[in-house]
Symmetry: C2
Subunit: 113 residues, 2 copies
Amino acid sequence: MFIRRPADIGDLVRATRQARGLNQQDLADRLGVSRWWVNEFEGGKPTARLDLVLRALNELQITLAAYAGDDAETAAPAPPASSRSPIDIDDIADRGLAPRTEAARPARKRRRR
Amino acid sequence: MFIRRPADIGDLVRATRQARGLNQQDLADRLGVSRWWVNEFEGGKPTARLDLVLRALNELQITLAAYAGDDAETAAPAPPASSRSPIDIDDIADRGLAPRTEAARPARKRRRR
DNA sequence: AAAACTTGTTTGCGATCGCTTACAATAGGG
DNA sequence: CCCTATTGTAAGCGATCGCAAACAAGTTTT
């Protein structure tokens, strides 16, 4: 998956978080931010801080790689062929990034922040 | 090149900018930000806004891709094998991302912002 | 060497962020 | 249907950002 806009990352984080059975508060706790921030960020908040963004990605074990796109005629990059396939949001639930669902899902409790 | 910390992006942007013969003010102009911001960002500013960061990458034609790193035993990802090789900072000057040097370098003038 | 250019850093301030708290809306299950 | 859980949104405020302008320091060119 290619990242061009803040919403690309936000969507990706949301899909990954849900696939892992975490709610926004869970992720917020892990990142040391408020639930509000997670909600805004997932919604594509342009002004999200870079360190928090990278921390969120790290927490969800999403790796970012940078590539040179140095010629206009190769501006539409072919997805890298790799055993580690790029993330496709629609694919996440299908492939089931949810081996941790039982471990990650806390007991039902009503907690609000 | 893998992006884990703000400084990773900052270093990358600096190297790419220099390889293209742009100074900080040039890039700032293109991004619609102050030179101060570019300087801070290149220095690894944790709180840089995501939209500005992505705009900088886009302006320098650096593509970001996201990958799932979903198992601890594959936490050290092999670089994707691709005709579009990942960016290595030390490699930039050697490979010469500078075909635009003449076009991009403005006439000498003393201008400060 | 001097001049010109570029980068690094600082100050003060208006603009904006991220927070808490709370309510509205939505989703899921019995 | 009801209930619970989760997400979306808003208001007000202290904290922080990004700015312009300027100077210091470093680098490159003449």
